[in-house]
Amino acid sequence: MAKVLVVDDDKNLRLLYEQELADEGHQVSLAGSGPEALDYLKNNRPDLIVLDISMPGMDGIEALGKILAKDKTMPVILNTAYSTYKDNFMTWSADAYVVKSGDLTELKIKIKEVLKSRGIAN
């Protein structure tokens, strides 16, 4: 059981993550944009953040920088439609990188791995 923040500009995709990750036993919070996520982080400290890269306005990479600037230890999984974002070295600072898919198995596994490596009980 962990607190997970999902950041994605696609409303229905957020709903999907909320439903599926809740099924996994996580306590899921949602944010529709980078600024919204940063706002949330002012008063909350999730165990892990699933962060979409391609967002209008502040994109995921920029948001990642800001999140890590505040808390270097914050576990972040980047989640996007493109695989080419791996080329941006900024993405290396993320704990994991998952390409979006209708099958959330990979995402779920990565979440478990990251939480485990950070010593957070599932």
Binding site: D9, D10, K11, N12, L13, L15, L16, Q19, E20, D23, G32, S54, M55, P56, G57, A81, Y82, K100, S101, G102, D103, L104
Partner: protein, 859 residues
Amino acid sequence: MPEPETPSTRILLVEDDAATRHAEETLLRREGFTPVAVATGAEALTLIQKESFDLVLLDLDLRSEPGGLEVCRSVKSIPHLAWMPVMFVTGDVSAETVSKVFEAGGDEFVGKPFKPEELVARARVLVRKGREERWLVERARKLAEKIAERDDELDDLRRFAQDIVSSLPSALLVLDANRTVLFANAPLLEAVKAERREVIGRAVTEFVRKEALAGPLSRALDAAIQTGQPSRLRRIEDFLRGNASRVSDLTVAPIDYAGVRQVLVVIEDVTEQARAEQSVALERAKLHDIVNAMNAALCLISRDRKIIWTNRTFDLWFGDAFGQPGFTSFLSNMARNDSWVEPVFERGQIQHVSWRVFTSHGQRRYFANIIAPIRAGENKRVEQALVLTQDVTEQETRVEQLSLLRELTQFLQRTLDAERLNHVILLCVTAGHALGFNRAFLFRRNRDTNVLEPQMAVGPTNREEAFKIWAELSEQGRSLHDLVGEVERLPLLEPASLFARIKHVRIHMDDPAEIVARTAIEKKTQVVLDAEHDERVTQPFRQTFGSKEFVSVPMIAKGHVVGVILADNLYSGRNITDDHVKLLTLFAAQAALAIENAYTYAELEKKVLELRKAQDKVVHSEKLAAVGKMAAHVAHEIRNPLSTIGGFARAVLKRPDNLERVNKNVKIIAEEATRLENMLKGVMDFSRPTAPVLKVGDLNATAEKAFRTNAEMLGSRHIHSDLDMDRSLPELMFDENQILQVLHNLIRNAADSMQQGGGLTLKTSRNGDMAVLSITDTGSGIPEDVRERIFSPFITTKPDGTGLGLAVTKKIVDDHGGRIDFDSVVGKGTTFRINLLLRRAEMSQLAPAVRTVDMERKA
């Protein structure tokens, strides 16, 4: 004159013996005198000073002092009474007494006792004598006074004369008959730089130059001295010694003084006048020479339009005897065109006029005239007009030729078709108006083979044909302008028979033996006057062309030889003059430029074609790139909905029993499927846009339709909407479906920018010849960094945008020939405006745009 005794004859009687006194008094009164008697000498002397008397009768033996002699002496010593006769009466008549009486100045004496008759007679004589003497004395005195007065006058006159002489600016000299100087005034002394004493009494030769004296001056002096003949000598140079380079006027006049003949010489220094006169004369002579020598005719015309003076050139040109034909033409020109002369006389204006006249030899001459006013008299009326006439025939001819050349050149530069250009060039060379050669051949350099190839030939093939052509030309009387104009319209000529003769000739540029090649190699015009004997001409050339006299001109453009023009006068035999050669060379340079232009143009066309092909390729690859970009975009855009659909589908599969959740998930799946469909439609719209189908319609009605369709959506988003229609908007051509799509896109964008609600206005208006549709919202505005790219495809700020809405919108507006623009303030809102052309007649101009779209679709 003595007067008779009258009572006015007064006698002073001096007798101290009373009885004697009384007797004498009585006696004298009785005899008609007026006696005044006194007893003493003192009384007598007092009285004689106060009153006037004619005689003093004095007793010599007065007992009181002064005595008789003393009284007499006193009277006689008074100057104005010196004449007064004094007669003594005495008892002593001794010789001693008598001599005393006369010594004292007495005039007579009578001894006592006297006889009365004797006393009276003596008194009478004495009175008369006294009066006579008195008259004489008076007269002498008056004469003396008069003489004194006259002396004064003479003094004045002398002074006056001296003043005149000394104040005269002229030098004066008085000579005697021996030419010795009697008098010289100050200016003369000054002129000869001498003192008076060095001049007076000397011979005139001492200070007058011998040469001056030898000539007319000597004769004049002789004439004055011998015959009293005065004379005047003008402009005598260096007359006085020591007074070099002065010029004088002399007046030589005889004067007779005291019966002696003398000569007065007046010398006026006129050096300044003489010099002025001399320079005026010089100037006049110079001017006269210029006026006569100048290569322009000059004449003066009086107010009654008569020629009153002409210069030599005028006489030469218009006949030196008035009335000759040339002159008549000058006059008749002047008379016929009095409007030229009239402003000169009436308003004092300078006139410039040109005349074209035919001389008696039938030659055409051009004259340029300047007519200038000449004023005279007190009121400065224009009394004469000066006409300056210049022969400008040569200039005019040149100007005519040059303007013709310019015209030809302009025409040449307009002609870009090579064949036609060749024809025009040769036509210009042979047309009689400018160059007028009989035949002309054009060689062009082949840039690849470096061979001069014949391109065209113009001219008759034989003499008969030549005459025929000339006759036709002169009958038609067509100007070169007409000919050239026709070339533009005429179909190109078949290769003429003249051309057939030379078409196989090939002249290699590296063969200087051939004159055409030499022209090109040396880049120099070659003139051949006798082809038979000119070593520059080869035998084959003679045979082919047959010209005896010809000119070969290089056509040089930008330093390179592009060809050679060959021209001759085979049939007319007219000599090729320097002028013709010059003109042809000039023309060839222009022709070369035209050929170069045509060549460049052809090259350019080729290049443009190549470029178009290359561009097509580029466009094609660009299209591929766009498709790739679109594919990536689409891949990205459909990843989200696909992930959502897949995810929820799996969730449903996993938990089909939770019906509520299944319901919710399936609903989302359906939503996402719709989203995918819409996206696909947008992609299709952009990648395969349809040409607008233009129909006349009411833009207001279309706007209202779009407004109604979206009203519900806007209401649900708390957006207040307004419609503002310009009802006067006329109908116009547009594709209703496409404009509806544009409006839907813009309304939806507006609504998306107002997440918290707001206001939207859809408005129609007219701006000149444009109908304007505007959509204004109170939304978040367009961020500055996006504005430039807003109409580019795949740009979106929206979470679920395709990035195609505005791209498609712009494409539709462009296809309509319209314009889309916007104003936006971040945080305040945005207005989009679609401008569509109102004029239906202009709609046909849309056709090219539509065709472009068609072509793109085919591609």
